[in-house]
Amino acid sequence: MRRSLSLRWIWQSLKALGVTGKHVLFEPRTTEGIRSAESRAPRYRASFALVHDEHGEEACIGCSLCEKICPSTVITVVPGGKVESPATGKKRGTLEDFTLDLQACIICELCVQVCPVDAIVMVREQETPGYSREDLVLTMDKLYANEHDKPRYWGSGSALMEMQDPKKEVG
């Protein structure tokens, strides 16, 4: 045996026993179940929502920028025609259909980053696990429902832009 037998054996074992034994007195650090969205950080991102703008209209203009930038191509945008907005009176694009397949989504936030009108944002609560794969496909209805059902995260496309502004004021 390379290492000789000595009292160090007993001493080291006692030290190890001491460390493990000490933890019996501690409260468990693991939590039971999933942490609630409230206890998460404000920036925590879990799922998606499509939002309405300040005039109460659907904010998305169907520009398909998010569809193009998505690295795992999970977003499908069907743009609608241009209509005149009743609130502002200006012509704007609309959204016909929007699908986000959460199965392959890698939560990279790039769609939020590129959105010019802050239409797609992320929410802090995860989707409920479903029984079929289709349950994880976020249709437009689900995304608009998420706007009210789930807590929104801190930011949006413009908030990210502001944070990443290269000419940001120092201080």
Binding site: M1, L5, S13, A16, L17, V19, T20, G21, H23, V24, F26, E27, P28, R29, T30, E32
Partner: protein, 343 residues
């Protein structure tokens, strides 16, 4: 009818088996809770109050599992192997005195064993020695290289560690002058516990107890000696191919083995039912015996969750180069003590 030993054996053996089986089941729950506490997590806490019914749920789960026998396995031996470990362990527990009576003349008489054998220690050790065979059979019959390696390790370890174990068990025999466990306990009640007797012989006794405890850890395949199971390299050792309740029986046997090892150590070296203070009645004896067993049992699992595993060659080195010479020396010292009248 009361002089029929078979009736006695059933009368005491039934509760003992129930106690051991129940104890084994509770031990699994308790160990998982204890380990959880040590690791700053919860452990099983869902089934029943504090999760105490978890073993029942586990047993039901295991019984429901599909019973798979590998096609290339030796079917008969593969199915036969799981029967023996719990049988052997319970059989070896038969001679351990769990209580003691004091009659009117003040004679201390350890009872509570299922069978009062004159060769109690030999019985225990031979049963423990036989444990090698079912595990080797399980390892060989599954026709899997991992189980084969594990079975070979088990044979090597079991045979090697038996020698220091037997030698250390000889020391109480030398002191008490009898192979019967009851006589050894009675001797300890009279002269003080072998490991704690406040006489010159105590040092030999304490050292022998330490060695015996270590070797019985090895016999019961507990960390740091659980080479045959060795999850990190051999996955689950001989149990790789076993599914469902067969696997459960192996696990139960392991826990029973731990309880029996703790009980045997306390009977041989810590006086068994003999109290340190207070009355020496049957109930007190039972409480003392269970208390001592429990302390050693906790120690085994505390060690388990704090230490690492030896490598197989280091394990053999430890046995043949350290434990065997030391136990031989202890036996000689004990013999000299008895001859010199110190004990």
């Amino acid at each position: 009818m009361l002089d029929n030993p078979i009736v006695w054996a059933f009368a005491i053996g039934g509760p003992l088996i129930t106690f051991l089986m129940g104890g084994g089941a509770v031990a699994t729950w308790w160990e998982r809770r204890f380990a959880g506490k040590m690791q700053t997590r919860f452990g099983p806490n869902r089934v029943g109050p504090q999760g105490i019914l978890q073993p029942v749920a586990d047993a039901f789960k295991m019984m429901q599992k599909e019973d798979i026998v590998p096609r290339a396995a030796d079917r008969t031996l593969f199915n036969l192997a799981p029967i023996f470990p719990p049988f052997l362990v319970i059989a070896s527990a038969a001679v351990i005195p769990f209580a003691a009576t004091v009659d009117a003349t003040g004679k201390y008489d350890p009872t509570g064993a299922v069978a009062e054998l004159d060769i109690g220690i030999l019985w225990v050790l031979s049963m423990a020695g036989l444990m090698v065979f079912p595990i080797w059979v399980a390892g060989w019959s599954a026709n899997n290289k991992y189980t084969l390696l594990s079975g070979m390790r088990m044979v090597a370890q079991g045979i090697s560690y038996e020698i220091p174990m037997v030698l250390c068990a000889l020391i109480p025999v030398i002191y008490a002058g009898s192979l019967s466990l009851s006589d050894i306990v009675a001797y300890q009640h009279e002269h003080g516990w072998i490991a704690l007797s406040l006489s010159p012989s105590m040092f030999v006794g304490a050292a022998a107890m330490l060695l015996f405890f270590l070797t019985s850890l090895a016999e019961a395949n507990r960390i740091p000696f659980d080479i045959p199971e060795a999850e990190s390299e051999l996955i689950a050792g001989v149990m790789v191919e076993y599914t469902g309740i067969k696997f459960g029986i192996f696990m139960l046997a392991e826990y029973l083995h731990t309880i029996v090892a703790a009980a045997l150590t306390s009977a041989l070296f810590l006086g068994g039912p003999s109290p340190l203070f207070g009355p020496a009645g049957p109930i007190a004896g039972l409480i003392w015996m269970l208390g001592k067993t429990l302390v050693l049992f906790v120690l085994i699992y505390w060690l388990r969750w704090s230490l690492y595993r030896f490598r197989s060659d280091q394990l053999m080195d430890l046995c043949w180069k350290v434990l065997v010479p030391m136990s031989l020396l202890l036996v000689m010292l004990a013999a000299l003590m008895v001859a010199g009248g110190f004990a």
